[in-house]
């Protein structure tokens, strides 16, 4: 049998094995099929010593020397088979695709990841790219963008009311941080836009919690009291296992209600720090609500019957919280004092009136959103009424 002649040659000159020769060897071997020979010229003194081990590791066969400083490699089998799922967003993502970016090639046989949200309809929403773009462009800094030096000395009762409201906001921001954070590792990275939007949402809530805490402390009073009623309400939110239901309860119902609250706080803010905080947080929360609405629209267009399970979730939550008296007196009183501007009877009367209007406005906004998701007026009124009195 005649000796096989090399299919390709490569001259490595004096490049040593640790100076990147594998780069050139792999490129040269890539053009060959299994069993074909590559002839390598190399002048580096250690090259021969290392070539055998390199071939063994790479699955090629070191054939031997074919002359001075000339070596032969037989290409081995074992090229990795790859799949290319393409750049379109698939209806279903294979757990074996793992962390590979969408649009790239993936070696087959990779580990099976434990992502549980692997269907597009589980997580997807329209407008994700624009929501993310806005989110990335509108990041603000509690240290840089809030006029802390303009904080006036407020009357003690107003400052205490604000500190209590900031405490309540911070609790709720934490809930709004944990809910998406719990779902991020369950979402298949094929749907990366969803992960990106939720990741910024988590970062937004972290910033809000930080900023609201600073505001409570900046006035000299410090944080107020956390009520059990609020905690119980938020706990039911954290325990919701279904992504779409959680997005509905948090982003549409909860954060939607918070938009009205933040507008109210900006309107009645007695100082520029509180007003700026409320305005910036409102801008972020509006994006979170937009994501929730878009996701729910996407799901309900495909599975209209899910409206009843979402309604059931709101009512279930309402029943669980039936024993809770509603918004805690700490928060309710503080909102009235803030809106009335003090604790004189006339101020309290005015504040109570504003808080009554706040509740009515929250209800109207919730019903609007529910209409927008295709719930009829009766369902929308009923669901809005069942929404937790704790706002979030």
């Amino acid at each position: 049998m005649p000796e096989q002649s090399p299919k390709a040659q490569i001259d490595l000159e004096d490049l040593a094995i640790h100076e990147g020769t594998p780069v050139l060897l792999r490129r040269a071997l890539a053009g060959l099929t299994a069993g074909e020979l590559l002839e390598v010229r190399a002048d580096s003194s250690d090259f021969f010593e290392a070539l055998g081990a390199w071939c063994r590791e790479e699955g090629h066969c070191y054939v031997g020397s074919s002359g001075p400083n000339c070596y032969r490699i037989e290409k081995g089998a074992g090229t990795a088979p790859v799949v290319a799922p393409g750049n379109h967003v698939a209806e279903s993502a294979d757990p074996n695709w793992g962390l590979a970016p969408r649009g790239g090639k993936i070696e087959r046989g990779g580990p099976k990841f434990a992502f549980t949200l692997c269907q597009k309809r589980d997580v997807w929403a329209q407008e994700l790219a624009s929501i993310y773009k806005q989110a990335a462009a509108n990041q603000w800094s509690a240290a840089r963008d809030i006029p802390w030096s303009s904080l006036p000395k407020l009357p003690a009762e107003l400052e205490a009311a604000l500190a209590q409201i900031m405490t309540f906001l911070t609790e709720n921001e934490f809930a709004a941080l944990y809910v998406p954070a719990r779902f991020i590792p369950r979402i298949h990275p094929h749907y990366r836009e969803v992960v990106e939007v939720l990741a910024v949402q988590v970062a937004d809530e972290a910033r809000h919690a930080e900023a609201f805490t600073w505001r409570a402390e900046a006035g000299g009073i410090g944080l107020g009291t956390t009520a059990n009623s609020g905690q119980l309400s938020l706990q039911t939110l954290l325990e919701e296992p279904d992504f779409t239901t959680a997005a509905f309860l948090l982003c549409v119902m909860g954060e939607g209600t918070f938009l009205t609250l933040l507008t109210f706080l900006e309107q009645f803010a007695p100082d520029p720090v509180t007003a700026t905080l409320a305005r910036l947080a409102h801008r972020d929360e509006a994006r979170h609500v937009a994501f929730g609405m878009e996701h729910l629209r996407y799901v309900l267009e495909r599975e209209p019957e899910r409206r009843s399970s979402l309604a059931a979730a709101v009512e279930r939550r309402s029943r669980m919280l039936a024993s809770v008296s509603g918004l805690s007196p700490y928060v309710s009183d503080a909102l009235m004092i803030l809106a009335g501007g003090g604790v004189a009877p006339q101020q309290v009367r005015a504040g109570a009136r504003q808080v009554f209007l706040l509740h009515r406005e929250m209800d109207a906004a919730r019903r609007d959103r529910l209409h927008g998701l295709g719930f009829d007026s009766f369902q929308a009124t009923r669901l809005s009424a069942h929404h937790t009195r704790n706002f979030m």
Binding site: H18, G52, R56, G59, A77, G78, T79
Partner: protein, 286 residues
């Protein structure tokens, strides 16, 4: 003498748990072999001596043996064992005696009176075979040169590369004059930064030797192990089902075993009276 059990049920394959990945590999292989009509189960051992004993007593049918465990199996059974398969990466290994580039050593003879770093005392590739190279060149370890052992996980025959890496570190730190390293690991240590590129060079290289093999007792019926070997040899690196397992096990292709590559290790075991003396555990870090 324990009676050899009647072969029945899944083939029992022994492996040494030198790394948590061993469980991943065998948990992955079990359903693969079952699906190919060659049911196996695996039994893990903490050290190769225990596995060799279990192999010879019939507690397991097949042992995934290190080269030293193969040599011991043959010694203890008076050549009553058979190697049935190995990895492509088990063939034609070499170990290197590596020195710092700026040292003046030009031949093995120059290492007389010097200190040589090796891996674990029972590592064929990082200790026994390169020390044999030195001894046969007239630099008898312990007599004409000092040997600094790096006993990480003794009993696992150097599979855990930790001791060998420590030997490379000792060379880089200037604590020793030379280090004994497997060819592939020498490259790994440079790539991972344990050794700075260009600061060391190869002083000498051993002849080719072979590494692990699947071992059975010669009296185990061929029908018992044949389906296992056929399934093993049929495994393809291009098959996504087993590719990750083959990567973990460090091979591209399974091959029939050969036993021509263990001569140096047999000579080393005999010359250093390896199984006649007790392995010192006084410096064992594991």
């Amino acid at each position: 003498m324990t009676a050899i059990r009647t072969p029945a049920g899944p083939l029992r394959v022994g492996a040494v748990a030198y790394d948590p990945k061993v469980v991943t590999i065998w948990e992955g292989f079990v359903p693969y072999f079952a699906a190919h009509g060659a049911a196996i189960d695996y039994v893990l051992f903490s050290n190769y001596d225990a596995q060799v004993a279990a192999s010879l007593s019939g507690e397991i049918d097949v042992a995934w043996n290190s080269p030293l465990a193969w040599v011991k199996s043959q010694l203890d059974s008076r050549k009553g064992c058979r190697a049935i398969a190995m990895r492509d990466s088990d063939r034609d290994l070499t170990s290197k005696i590596v020195v710092r580039r700026d040292s003046g050593f030009m031949s093995l003879g120059d290492l007389k009176g010097k200190t040589i770093a090796v891996g674990a005392s029972d590592s064929p590739q990082a200790t026994l075979i390169p020390l044999l190279l030195l001894a046969e060149a007239g630099v008898v370890p312990g007599e004409q040169c000092h040997v600094l052992y790096h006993n990480v996980m003794v009993g696992k025959h150097g599979d855990h590369v930790g001791g060998e890496r420590d030997a490379a570190r000792a060379l880089a730190a200037g604590k020793v004059d030379a280090a004994c390293l497997l060819d592939g690991n020498y490259t790994v240590f440079i790539n991972e930064g344990t050794l700075d590129p260009g600061t060391t060079r190869i002083l000498a290289s051993t002849a080719h030797f072979d590494h692990c093999n699947f071992t059975v007792r010669a009296d185990l019926m061929r029908e018992r192990w044949q389906p296992f070997v056929e399934t093993l040899l049929g495994m393809s690196f291009e098959d996504p089902e087993v590719r990750a397992l083959m990567e973990l096990e460090g091979l591209k292709r399974w091959l029939p075993a050969r036993t021509t590559g263990y001569g140096q290790l047999e000579r080393a075991v005999e010359r250093f009276r390896f199984y006649a003396r007790t392995i010192s555990k006084s410096t064992d870090r594991s």
